[in-house]
């Protein structure tokens, strides 16, 4: 198996980028972005995870099999979230349940 030599400078660069992104997360935390709070936090987290996977875990330099394993993991995560949403997004949310005797026509969607 061929071994790719990575310059220590690359590791330091990635490391400092991660630190900066952590700082950005903290700074953003002081501003209320409404519904974008979660989106921004997750977007930064995904960037950081990608850097870790590509460089620290060497996926950028590895063969097809480890990449397949990585993709498999992401695909399974998508299954977990996606199929859970099949229920969550189509569920009838009754904010004021009055018991099962009430007719379903009185149930209101949010």
């Amino acid at each position: 198996m061929k071994h790719h030599v990575i310059h220590p400078g690359t590791y330091f660069l990635v490391f400092f980028t991660l630190l900066i992104l952590t700082g950005v997360t903290t700074v953003v935390g002081f501003y209320d972005l409404g519904r974008w709070n979660t989106v921004v936090a997750l977007a930064i987290a995904v960037c950081k995870a990608t850097l870790v996977v590509l460089f620290f875990m060497h996926l950028r330099y590895s063969s097809a099999l480890p990449r397949l394993v990585m993709l498999g993991g992401l695909f399974w995560l998508a299954l977990l979230i996606g199929l859970t949403l099949v229920d969550n997004l189509t569920r009838v949310w009754d904010s004021n349940p009055r018991g099962w005797e009430t007719t379903s026509s009185s149930v209101q969607r949010p």
């Binding site: 977990l80 099949v86 229920d87 189509t90 569920r91």
Partner: protein
């Protein structure tokens, strides 16, 4: 354990093998030999089987009378909880993979050990630590959430030892992950020359598919248990609606692992079944690649069906329909296997040694469990029988009639290889038969009870259900005796059984080329594979 290695004088001089190469407790507890680790697992899961089995005995005794014969309702809750937790997480899930898989994966692919022998030993220790947590929970006073740990009961209201039991399950999960990782790397990287993917024994395909589930599913149950702990200890609102959480989220996460966990139990059993059927009908498997690929299909599709456990829990009607259809889909690869085993028998030279009796029992019982699973996958039927004994009967036909039958069949089949001794064939056939009868007498009445409306997990029932409940308890007693007999004669045979040849069944497969029991390094020379799996001479050729 050293008694294992005592041999008759006439063969004591013969040769060194994995059992007599070292003696003493330390040589077992620090071993990295996959075969010895398999035996460590065999001893430990047998212990847990006895714990879970004792709880089952008490449950069935309590149900002899409509008002509950033995215990308080609160104790009854603890009994079925501990039965489920121990049997699922500490017996069934590790049973075939950790015992037979550990022993056979390297032997079957012509390797000297698994890829990571130390990691393999670590996985056993992790399993034991998890087990100790669970045993502590039992001894300290029990847990009453059921094996499903449903929130918010488990996260907020139950004042039993939920955390100890749940941590036990959490820790043991890592042992599954390590085993799965080890198998996948071993199967990818350590196959003997000529052992191509489509020459692999089907047991290996089954182990591979199981390992995929181990790795992709187990982390989710781990996370779920951590979330329970967070809600319980830090009152973070995740599952409890009073804190702003969603109890159905727990069920989604729990069943994302725990439905595939059923395939962790049944896929290895199917792998064993393919070995038994081919060997005892002396025929190549019908449709090798279909049986192999259906294992992978089950591993994938098994992840898409989980919400069939939640049809009446409040999921949307749309989700109910989606998961109902997907649940039907997973029956396809399972049926492919059943049909292919049956087709393999056709015109085979069938013989009914004890392992084959278990193998034949498996086909029938698994089919009944599978078909009743289709009943439960349909929305209308499920509303009627949800949380009744119909469900109990269904999954015991899969897990006990399927997985345990195959496990016992496999233990008998490979016992000569594992111990170097033969077990008493007459006793083995007898116990296989009474296990089959006892099992059906225990669980068939439960189908009827459930259909008539007896709910699961209740310590009491209306008097008109008593006859069927007494039948079930009588069957359980027979079943219990059926399990004890092999335990006794297998231990007996380690010392007194006739010495086994390297291939007593005339089976194909690399494990039968190694001596019985194999030396520590398995093969003196790395075997070279030149033929497909199950390369039995075809009968036409034999006749001609």
């Amino acid at each position: 354990m050293s008694t294992l290695s005592v041999e008759e004088p006439e063969q004591a001089e013969s040769r060194v093998h994995y059992l007599n190469v070292h003696y003493g407790v330390k040589s077992w507890l620090l071993t990295t030999d996959h075969k010895r680790i398999a035996l460590l697992y065999l001893a430990s899961i047998t212990l847990f089987f006895l714990v879970g089995g004792s709880a089952a005995v008490l449950i069935r005794m309590n149900l002899l009378t409509p008002t509950g014969l033995l215990v308080e309702p609160a104790t009854y809750n603890k009994l079925f909880s501990i039965h489920g937790i121990v049997m699922v997480f500490f017996f069934l899930i590790p049973s075939i993979p950790a015992v037979l898989g550990n022993f056979l994966v390297p032997l079957m692919i012509g390797a000297r050990d698994l890829a990571f022998p130390k990691l393999n030993l670590l996985s056993w220790y992790v399993y034991i630590v998890g087990g100790l947590f669970t045993l502590y929970a039992v001894i300290a006073g029990g847990v009453d959430t059921g094996w499903t740990f449903y929130a918010p009961y488990s996260s907020t209201y139950s004042n039993t030892h939920v955390m100890a039991a749940a941590l036990g399950v959490f820790i043991t999960g890592f042992s599954s992950i390590l085993t799965g990782l080890n198998f996948i790397v071993t199967i990818h990287k350590m196959r003997a020359p000529g052992m191509t993917w489509f020459r692999l024994p089907l047991f290996i395909w089954a182990m591979y598919a199981t390992s995929v589930i181990f790795i992709l599913g187990t982390p989710v149950i781990g996370i779920t248990i951590l979330l329970i702990a967070l809600e319980r200890a830090a009152h973070l609102g995740i599952f409890n609606p009073a804190l702003g959480g969603d109890p159905l989220l727990f069920q989604h996460l729990f069943w994302f692992y725990s439905h595939p966990a059923v395939y962790i139990m049944i896929l290895p059993a199917m792998g064993v079944e393919s070995e038994l059927i081919t060997c005892f009908s002396k025929k190549r498997i019908f449709g090798y690649s279909f049986v192999a690929m259906s294992s992978l299909a089950i591993a994938l599709l098994g992840f898409l069906v989980w919400a069939h456990h939640m049809f009446v829990a409040g999921v949307s009607m749309y989700a109910g329909m989606v998961f109902s259809i997907l649940s039907y889909l997973v029956a396809v690869p399972s049926s492919v296997k059943v049909f292919n085993w049956t087709a393999t028998l056709y015109k085979g030279s069938i013989s009914y040694e004890a392992p084959m009796l278990y193998g034949m029992g498996f086909i029938g019982l698994f089919s009944m469990g599978g078909v009743t699973g289709m009943f439960l996958a349909s929305l209308g039927m499920d509303v009627h029988v949800h949380d009744t004994y119909f469900v109990i009967a269904h999954f015991h036909y899969i897990m006990v009639g399927g997985a345990v039958m195959a496990y016992l069949g496999g233990i008998h089949f490979w016992w000569p290889k594992i111990s170097g001794r033969m077990y008493p064939e007459g006793w083995a056939r007898f116990s296989a038969l009474i296990i089959f009868l006892g099992f059906n007498l225990t669980f068939f009445p439960q189908y009827i009870l459930g259909y008539l409306g007896m709910p699961r997990r209740y310590p009491v029932y209306p008097p008109e259900f008593q006859v069927l409940n007494v039948m079930s308890t009588a069957g359980a007693s027979i079943l219990g005796v059926g399990y004890l007999i092999p335990l006794i004669y297998l231990i007996w045979s380690m010392r007194y059984g006739p010495v086994a040849s390297s291939n007593p069944w005339g089976a194909k497969g690399l494990e039968w080329q190694a001596p019985s029991p194999p030396p520590t390094d398995n093969f003196e020379e790395t075997p070279v594979v030149t033929a497909q799996a199950y390369d039995y001479p075809s009968r036409e050729v034999e006749v001609a």
